[in-house]
Symmetry: C2
Subunit: 170 residues, 2 copies
């Protein structure tokens, strides 16, 4: 029997780790003048998001998170060609809106969306500072694979498949 | 009969346009302290590339160009979600190396690769200035589709296929 398992987040923020994350995101927004701040895991799940008091409704965050996470993964091929382990930081600048992305430990990504009028220096400064704090929080909130049950389910499914194919039973 | 046509560059730089491009790229490198400067077309073809006198052999440029062009195309989905027509400018920053990308008209991309020790402000300033000059040069050097013969070959191939299928002759 094969079970289909959905992709699950690598990091789960509950209680105090979520509260701390929200506090850090709020501070980034306050200090940098940014519009939105999000913490994503590398698979593209939104772990937490905040917006400035004055900011309008944000864009569809799940789609945004998926695109950002996929793009961050793709860009690593480019880093490798240039002899870098990875690009820690990315800035995408449009006419009115900018997007700042900072690696947050090995598991998460900090995304800051800002108006082009906001000072990029402050976005980067407070973004980097926040990413360091968030990396610690995320590392402590990592979900162990067996907690999610993906690995055991997968291996049971795989064993069952092999049994069917070769007629052995374990 | 169907003919398979390869992807061809949209822009071709010959004679004076190539010389002008090289001049602009050399100036960017000289003024900004960058290591390499490349002009690509959006499909990922290297139109021209230069390196600093002191710079070592560059990374495989064709692979780099393909990755950059694909990535630049993918990132536009992100821009659209944020209500931007496109991101004109991207900066990817690693520990030792950085990559600056600026839209160069609608056809080309300027890529500047720099050491992390180079001042980002200068890279951006001279990068933007160069992109404007290069956009003009590239626009004048655009290859008309019928010059490449892709369109006529494609339509002939398609007609022949339809003839085979439906037994009509044109």
């Amino acid at each position: 029997m094969i079970e289909i398992t959905m992709v699950e987040p690598t990091v789960a923020l509950y209680g105090p780790s979520y509260d701390q994350t929200v506090e850090v995101l709020d501070e980034v927004i306050r200090e940098s003048g940014a519009r939105y701040a999000l913490l994503l895991d590398r698979k593209g799940f939104v772990l937490a998001h905040r917006r400035a008091l004055w900011a309008s409704k944000p864009p569809p965050l799940d789609s945004l998170a998926t695109l950002v996470a996929n793009n961050a993964a793709a860009i690593q091929a480019l880093a490798k060609i240039l002899g870098e382990a990875q690009f820690q930081e990315q800035v995408h600048q449009g006419k009115d809106v900018g997007l700042f992305l900072e690696e947050t430990g090995s598991l998460a990504l900090l995304v800051i969306i800002f108006d082009s009028s906001a000072p990029l220096g402050r976005i980067k400064l407070f973004g980097k500072r926040a990413a360091k704090l968030l990396a610690k929080i995320a590392a402590e909130a990592t979900v162990a694979p067996d907690k999610l049950g993906i690995d055991s389910e997968y291996s049971e499914g795989a064993s069952a498949l092999l049994d069917d194919l070769f007629g052995t039973s374990s």
